[in-house]
Subunit: 267 residues, 2 copies
């Protein structure tokens, strides 16, 4: 038996999130079906964590146990030939039997994208929240800084969160503005704002509530310092709305033993 670790990227637009749901059509269902078709094994995969309906992943990580003789380096292409074009497995390798994708995930990075140009970028329309009107991005960045460190993030967690503790650590958070789609000299085009958050882990809807709150800061409805007050309130009602899911992407999952997720280089 092998413990196989894989990296997968997916466009979440047409799925009910990563984790198997009663009403089906999840990334996990599709991957498990592809594995069954390939190796004949009916099994469950374990991911680094779930992503909500409509959320994308550049690099999600999962592992599962297989008795298949298929060598690890063959799995990527073999699975991709059975997966729809909006799910692509990019790395596969054998890891120690005791390796667990979720328990051993040390850091996760999410990216949230807001298009603050006058018109949507149709080539990225499924991966951006298009915001109408100008945003004070400097104020948003100031507000973001208040979230760094170790805190109880109850104010930024879904009320449906069942986690025993809402204490998490955000190691780093930064913003980048892409002006490549801005029309020359057009004052209504502010660029596309990418916000990256790296933390020990994130609660349900946490990044989206943070972004929904920061957008209100950018609109001048809240001050940057109000983010600290919201954090201290430990009350979901104190924060802003949950930003739309399509702007969110699981960017990276890190493990202490980086060798465990070394890139696959076999031909």
């Amino acid at each position: 038996m092998r413990n196989l670790l894989m990296k997968v990227s997916y466009d979440g637009t047409h799925y009910n999130g990563f984790q198997t749901q009663p009403d089906g059509r999840t990334i996990q269902d599709i991957i498990e079906k592809a594995i069954a078709g390939l190796s004949g094994e009916t099994l469950k995969i374990t991911a680094s964590g779930r992503t909500d309906a409509g959320v994308h992943a550049r690099s999600q990580v999962f592992n599962f146990y297989s008795d298949s003789p298929i060598p690890p380096e063959r799995w990527c292409s073999a699975l991709n030939s059975r997966l729809p074009e909006d799910i692509v497995v990019t790395d596969a390798q054998e890891v120690p039997l005791d390796f667990h994708s979720r328990r051993e995930a040390k850091r996760k990075t999410y990216r949230y994208t807001i298009n603050s140009n006058q018109f949507p970028d149709l080539f990225n329309r499924r991966y951006q929240f298009h915001h109408h009107g100008r945003l004070d991005m400097q104020a948003m960045e100031e507000g973001l800084k208040h979230l760094l460190g170790t805190h109880d993030y109850t104010s930024f967690a879904s009320r449906r969160s069942t986690k025993p503790s809402h204490i998490r650590t955000i190691y780093s958070a930064w913003m980048e503005v892409d002006t490549s789609m801005c029309r020359t000299g057009n004052t209504r085009d502010q660029g596309v704002l990418h916000t990256y958050l790296t933390g020990s882990g994130f609660l349900q809807h946490m990044v989206r509530i943070i972004m929904g709150t920061l957008v209100e800061v950018g609109e001048g409805k809240r001050t940057p310092d109000s983010v600290r007050t919201i954090l201290e309130a430990r009350n979901r009602a104190a924060a802003g709305p949950t930003a739309v899911s399509k702007g969110l992407m699981l960017w990276d999952v890190e493990y202490d033993e980086l060798s465990l997720i070394r890139p696959q280089t076999d031909f």
Copy 2:
């Protein structure tokens, strides 16, 4: 009566090209339908040129004559509210009555994108040709240089071309490699290759035949210098295959009087 000039970007995936066809479903049809719905006018728009089925446009230009009292700066949002999400009008303004989008277009730039990483980039899968196996990009760039200048491009034109002359000028041509999707240390990921071609005009399938030929150069099936020989042959049979349409994008259309396509800045 006003002569209205507009810029439009579109995802060509689901359309039979720009220009009206007997079997319908073209960008032009959709835009003219939106104009009719907005101003009640049944009219024909004139574009800088046609694009083939499946080809995209970052910035296509068209104009038309309207008696509508709707002010130019209102047209963009009004039309976009009636257009599908894969067609977005980004600029609108009044131009002199004698301005003609096609006749006065002085320079056009096309971009062709080849993903030479091991796996497709699913977030850009509709806008990239995914090439399996390594490409000698330096050789491709050498081959590309032979196409600069004024030549008879018959070898790189569709046999169906009805143009009286196949002489065109390519002012500049360059390549850029985007390695942002490459997996660290993975020797199978070469990056995404963007090739830009700026010319006085392009014949039917010209950019796609050029790219299909350059891919064969990159694969080592042809030498960079063979591109010159192909050009001199003035025979379509001498060149390589026509590259898939989804990798092609009309990037920009330039006019001598830049003020004619100044960005719209009205609120």
